[in-house]
């Protein structure tokens, strides 16, 4: 856990225990391999930016969101991008696998 606003120290490879949090996490894959350079963005209604994290070495990302519907957007070098709709709820870990 970190008390700053940056990426959690050590990346996001440790599994999340949802507890009272609404966790959205997953991995990004391109041509069968983890995408370790890239960014995952969480967007709200009307594409309102909420949060962004760099992908981990294993292509992983994690957000602690508010409950509700979100858009997950992934950006990677070479103009690669993808979007997924996700639903987050307190006490649940929502897992999203993204292939770009």
């Amino acid at each position: 856990m970190t008390d700053g606003c940056g990426a959690p120290a050590g990346g996001v490879s440790a599994p999340a225990a949802a507890g009272s949090q609404a966790v959205v996490e997953g991995k990004v894959v391109h041509q069968g391999a983890a995408v370790s350079t890239g960014y995952a963005r969480l967007l709200g209604t009307g594409e309102e930016f909420v949060a962004e994290v760099p992908l981990g070495d294993d292509g992983g990302f994690r957000f602690f969101a508010a409950p509700g519907s979100w858009t997950l957007r992934v950006l990677a070098p070479g103009g690669l991008r993808a979007e997924r709709s996700v639903q987050a709820d307190y006490g649940q870990v929502t897992t999203v696998e993204v292939t770009i």
Binding site: D3, G4, C5, G6, A7, A9, G10, F49, A66, L75
Partner: protein, 280 residues
Amino acid sequence: MSRSDVLVDADWAEAHIGDPHVVIVEVDEDTSAYDKGHIPGAVKIDWKKDLQDPVRRDFVDKTGFEALLSERGISDDDTVLLYGGNNNWFAAYAYWYFRLYGHDKVLLLDGGRKKWELDSRELSTEVPQRPRTSYTATEQDRSLRALRDEVLDAIGKRNLVDVRSPDEFTGRLLAPAHLPQEQAQRAGHIPTARNVPWSKAANEDGTFRSDDELRQLYQGDAGLDFSKDTIAYCRIGERSAHTWFVLHELLGLPNVKNYDGSWTEYGSLVGVPIELGEAR
């Protein structure tokens, strides 16, 4: 002061790799990003370990800043080019910090680490060895920094810009959505603050929006009175440093301060006014 005096693009940075008068500095909270690969020749500054006092909540003092820059091989005459992750949050914070201690030859790389990576530009794991210098800082320029009493006094008088996400502003969250929810005792925002999330000032690749778009955002959309003094805040003062950079450095507003105590301080103060919900 204009945009070209304070902000450079990746081509400029690439052309100045190895320039003896330019020191490229990556600033992050989690410096494993630097260790994984950085702009060739760049040295690193750890936002927390290097820039924060290890005991009390405050900056390193003038002597500490001088020791840090001397150890990193940065001279008073060097041009310092800052960049970092998180859309340059911590690099913007360091920029503000360099200005606070009187280093005027400082630049920010537009788009920071993200744009550099998305452009597939070269990254190096080689750590440069720069000879030690004897850096001399000035006393803190307090015209750039707001403390809590000044913030309380500014309610209803100056522009207060809360640059956190709408969910943090309205009190639904206490921290950005990529972090566990923790910190301040109370949620909400400082009364009379306008909510202009830092992200609205940036494009998707982390570069800053144009001056015209930025003016429209703060003056037109948010209704800030540019003739008034302004204080920006967020949760711990780094996202608001990003907005301070926009208002003070890019748009050239004369009296803009960053409240680095921000919500983790204000939201834990006893007896201060707090508003919940949308801006009134």
